[in-house]
């Protein structure tokens, strides 16, 4: 090739290289612009479409709006695909142009290539080469320094995970005998959730101002809607505020606060969810097995403490997502602490925690919406059952392994608070505002069509749980209708309207039934087939909790105080003959 042709070829290839290079830059910029502006995202990012769809939700029958949306939807889809096609074709054009640029640029460069001139570099200088070597060593060492700094830097951003639960030494397992359990009030509504104690001196009246019938009155350190429980001389209560979850032990004889134990959660304390005033951060009632007391709070912190107030274990089951705040109380079966966490159909579950360690023994998902009812453990023909209520099912489980035994559909209320009850061989389940079901707890699977013994729409409770001594069933509505039924048949024996608001569940002590209004007005009626009010007293403060009954007295939590109330004569009401 002669010099002229070579020059022409060089200049030609340079010109092509410049032209294609400019094209590459322009096309690259255009593609980048369209990407960063989201032009190919289209449909999913159209604010106009989102706005119109919002309007359609408010005016679902607006046909012109629908047409408008359809048209816009179609246009956006077409535009999106057009933009995608343009983007793809643009990228292809960019690649072809880049290939042309590289080919012409390489050609131009090879045509202009000159042999290097080592003489121009001068002689090699040993000192410089050594300095270069040293410089390289320092640079490599710097890389190590930078890597070390990066390692330290990233480690400072590590998130502290909650530490593992501290294993506790095994404690000899001792399950209290049934008689021992019956002699105490170890859980919400007593030993079996019936709210009944056969031998109890339930006072007919008292007078807070004069002190008549008031054995003692103690201030509760922290607020809560949980009810007291008793084991021997120990009374337990929970309370909480936004910062602290605490368990309190009172002396049942004197009312003295023996200890107050704030829970120490492993890791950072989970913040409290928003709860309603009617629920509080300490709505669930604790439970005891005679060795330890177990408590759960609104932020899903659950813990075990011994009777000396020492925390045995504490863990968090949350976070919980509950419209009013978690309110389901704990239940216990042998070494299993049973927790009903109904948070919504996708997340509701039942857990059994090892009472010694707090670790999961089993978990069972529940097809249940959010609920506030508490589970009960019952004995059916010598076999234990864990019975739960939640929209829409009443479900019986085996508390040993969490397997489902039976289920009955019929609870369609979205605000299910009343807990189930076992009376007269039937599980009583309340569907607020609609119906009360009596279910035979046998069979397997869905027994809705076979096991519902009776239904009634009389006196259906909305918040308060039912109570029964096995012979009579008491239902208390939120607006004060107290109804006595035959648990065998569901027939109404009597009904009386107290015309007041009630959250507190009724309790039966021997021959008397006690109900307390939200304002703290207590009514005692006779546990009989006819209505007869025996007394009416004022607690002097609000009350939304359920009393715990003892042989000689009852314990009742008001808004601020814990009361021990007793019949001044100290008679055991149960000794009264049945009418």
């Amino acid at each position: 090739m002669n010099a002229r042709n070579q020059l022409l070829l060089t200049q030609g290839s340079l010109a092509v290289a410049i032209a294609s290079g400019v094209f590459v830059l322009l096309m690259g910029g255009l593609l980048l612009f369209s990407q960063t502006q989201g032009k190919v995202a289209g449909l999913t990012q159209s604010t106009q479409l989102v706005r119109l769809q919002e309007e359609l939700r408010q005016r679902p029958r607006d046909e012109s709006l629908k047409q408008h949306i359809r048209q816009l939807d179609l246009e956006l889809r077409q535009k999106s695909f057009t933009d995608l096609r343009l983007s793809h074709n643009g990228a292809l054009a960019l690649i072809f142009a880049a290939a042309l640029f590289l080919a012409s640029a390489h050609l131009a460069r090879s045509l202009r290539r000159k042999l290097p001139n080592p003489l121009a570099w001068g002689p090699r200088r040993p000192a410089e080469e050594k300095r270069t070597s040293l410089l390289a060593q320092y640079a490599v060492a710097t890389v190590f320094g930078v890597a070390a700094a990066a390692a330290v830097g990233v480690s400072s951003h590590a998130v502290q995970l909650p530490p593992p639960p501290v294993p506790t030494p095994a404690v000899a397992v001792h399950f209290p005998a049934p008689a021992e359990v019956r002699d105490n009030w170890p859980a919400f509504r007593g030993c079996d959730g019936s709210a009944y104690r056969e031998q109890s001196a339930l006072p007919a009246t008292w007078n807070i101002a004069s002190g008549q019938g008031v054995r003692w009155k103690s201030e509760v350190p922290l607020p809560g809607m949980s009810s007291p429980i008793r084991w021997g001389s120990a009374l337990f209560l929970t309370g909480a505020n936004a910062q602290t979850n605490a368990v309190f032990k009172f002396d049942a004889a004197t009312g003295a606060l023996v200890w107050s134990a704030a829970l120490h959660s492993p890791g950072a304390r989970m913040p409290n969810p928003s709860v309603s005033e009617d629920t509080s951060f300490a709505a669930p009632t604790p439970v005891t097995d005679g060795q330890r007391v177990y408590a759960i709070f609104a932020n899903a912190e659950v813990a075990a403490l011994d009777f000396a107030g020492k925390q045995i274990w504490c863990r968090n089951l949350g976070p919980l997502d509950n419209a009013y705040g978690h309110a389901s109380s704990l239940a216990i079966y042998q070494d299993r602490l049973l927790v009903q966490l109904d948070q919504g159909e996708a997340t509701s579950k039942l857990l059994a925690l090892n009472t010694s360690t707090g670790q999961d023994l089993w978990q069972t998902p529940r097809p249940i919406a959010c609920s506030w009812a508490s589970p009960i453990v019952i004995d059916v023909a010598g076999q234990p059952q864990l019975v739960t209520c939640g929209q829409p099912w009443v479900i019986g489980y085996n508390p040993v392994d969490g397997s489902e035994l039976w289920r009955v559909k019929g609870l369609d209320s979205s605000e299910l608070a009343p807990s189930p009850l076992y009376a007269g061989g039937k599980v009583i389940a309340s569907n607020p505002g609609t119906v009360v079901l009596a279910i035979r707890p046998d069979g397997r699977g869905d027994v809705t069509s076979n096991n519902v013994a009776w239904k009634t729409d009389s006196g259906v409770p909305s918040v308060a749980s039912p109570a029964s001594d096995g012979k009579r069933l008491y239902l208390l509505t939120g607006d004060g209708q107290l109804t006595c039924l035959d648990p065998e048949t569901g027939h109404v024996k009597w009904s009386h309207d107290f015309a007041d608001e009630f959250y507190s569940s009724p309790v039966i002590g021997g021959g008397r039934v006690l109900i307390v209004t939200r304002k703290g007005i207590a009514h005692v009626v006779e546990n009989a087939d006819q209505f007869r009010e025996l007394g009416k007293s004022d607690l002097g403060e609000d009350c939304n909790t359920t009393p715990a009954l003892d042989r000689q007295c009852l314990y009742l939590r008001g808004a601020k105080h814990l009361f021990c109330l007793a019949d001044s004569a100290g008679t055991v009401a149960a000794s009264r003959p049945e009418k």
Binding site: A105, R124, P126, F144, V159
Partner: protein, 419 residues
């Protein structure tokens, strides 16, 4: 094979029209025999490039094969299966017996290494689409200062260590995740990675193969294998005349100068420095291991379980107020937070152990690099460093002996400038 396919757009929300929504479809899975064809093409290309480079000494042939590799392994195969990325698969399979490696991936991972043991980095020369693409864009090479070149090359060793940590602990294949050129081959992908790839190509116009030299973790392994290769790239086909014409011909800084005509270096402090570096080596290893342990918890965040546990902890403690898709899905899944935390803690322990090894590895390679820089080796000829030479064959044409061998006119040596 069943596939879960997400539609590109949400389907129309109107159901009362008679329009029948098409069923989403996905491209059919690539036939298995294609993978075996890829392996055959890979081996054939390696053999061909070995012949071109070591026997034929053809730069044009290497370039042509490189273009083929960019088209076939790059644009046609969309950059996968890729030898570089196979490191992750193999590392995970070695650490987790339940993880199987497809035969084709194994071939892609090991064959170039075996070839490197015998013929040097012939894979990098023209078979790797990443390398070939960068080689094609190199128009005006500038010399990277040796101190910078040596230090930047250490990044690839660190990257390799991290890639092995993440792959062996289930944290993902970061080599594939952060591959800068695959999005270009696929004409789609994460915009950031596309921009990184374009930036690397832009830098590659002036700096020879920046990814291959300073970042490629597979290049580290190939370099190690090539350092003991029996046959190697030789700049001159005959005897080196010490003409120095090839001295600046390598755009990758892989040519080691002859020591024959080099004036003696002052050696007074060399021995002390060498001794110091020998003592420093175990210290660097220990410090590296310690720092790796420190960073282990943070590295563990790459694992989805640890990431989720940490996210939930931040949400639960109120440090962050929003939620992520993963945390929302976990809450809806009914799983135990405590068992998630237990899994996360166990994974963190694995990561800390793996990161300690990685740190020790970094300390070791840095220490050895410092030692190698402090040691003066005698070389009779100008020669390509076996571990760094990428086999581009550019240096051949700068050697007068090569021109003579090809029967081409040998230009007269330039005259020294008049004083």
């Amino acid at each position: 094979m069943s596939q879960a396919v997400a539609p590109r757009f949400p389907p129309p929300e109107f159901t009362e029209t008679s329009h029948v929504l098409p069923v989403p479809t996905a491209p059919a899975v690539r036939e298995l025999w294609f993978e075996y064809l890829d392996v055959v093409v890979l081996i054939a290309a390696l053999v061909f490039v070995s012949w071109l480079l070591l026997r034929r000494r053809s730069r044009a042939g290497v370039v042509a094969t490189g273009i083929f590799s960019v088209l076939y392994f790059g644009f046609w195969k969309k950059g996968c299966i890729c030898s570089i990325g196979s490191i992750g698969n193999i590392a995970q399979a070695l650490s987790d017996s339940s993880f199987g490696v497809p035969l084709a991936v194994l071939f892609f991972g090991l064959t170039p290494l075996i070839f490197a043991l015998f013929f040097g980095r012939v894979f990098c020369a023209a078979v790797c689409p990443h390398g070939a693409l960068q080689d094609l864009v190199l128009l005006k090479p500038v010399k990277v200062p040796p101190w910078l070149d040596h230090s930047l090359r250490m990044l690839a060793w660190i990257y390799l260590g991290l890639a092995l940590v993440f792959a062996a602990t289930g944290g993902g294949f970061i080599i594939c995740q952060y591959d800068p050129f695959v999005p270009i081959f696929r004409l789609s992908g994460n915009l950031t990675m596309v921009l990184v790839g374009v930036a690397l190509l832009g830098i590659g116009v002036f700096v020879g193969r920046p990814y291959c030299r300073f970042l490629c973790p597979y290049g580290v392994l190939l370099g190690l294998a090539a350092s003991v290769s029996k046959w190697r790239v030789r700049i001159t086909p005959d005897t080196c005349t010490q003409c120095r014409l090839c001295e600046e011909s390598c755009p990758f800084g892989a040519i080691e100068k002859s020591t024959v005509e080099a004036p003696a270096r002052p050696r007074s402090s060399d021995k002390r420095r060498l001794l110091f570096l020998l003592v420093l080596l175990p210290i660097l290893i220990a410090v590296g291991a310690g720092l790796g342990g420190v960073a282990g918890s943070a590295l563990a965040r790459k694992h989805r379980v640890v990431n989720l546990a940490e996210r939930l902890q931040l949400e639960n403690t109120g440090v962050v107020s929003d939620t992520t898709d993963a945390s929302t899905a976990f809450r809806a899944s009914n799983q135990s937070l405590e068992s998630l935390n237990a899994d996360a803690r166990a994974l963190r322990r694995h990561y800390i152990m793996a990161a300690r090894w990685c740190g020790a590895w970094v300390g070791l390679v840095i220490g050895l690099k410092l030692l190698s820089l402090a040691v003066l080796r005698k070389r009779p000829d100008y020669e390509a460093d076996q571990s760094r030479c990428l086999g581009c064959a550019r240096c051949y044409r700068d050697c007068p002996q090569e021109l003579q061998r090809l029967g081409l006119p040998v230009p007269a040596p330039p005259k020294p400038a008049a004083a």
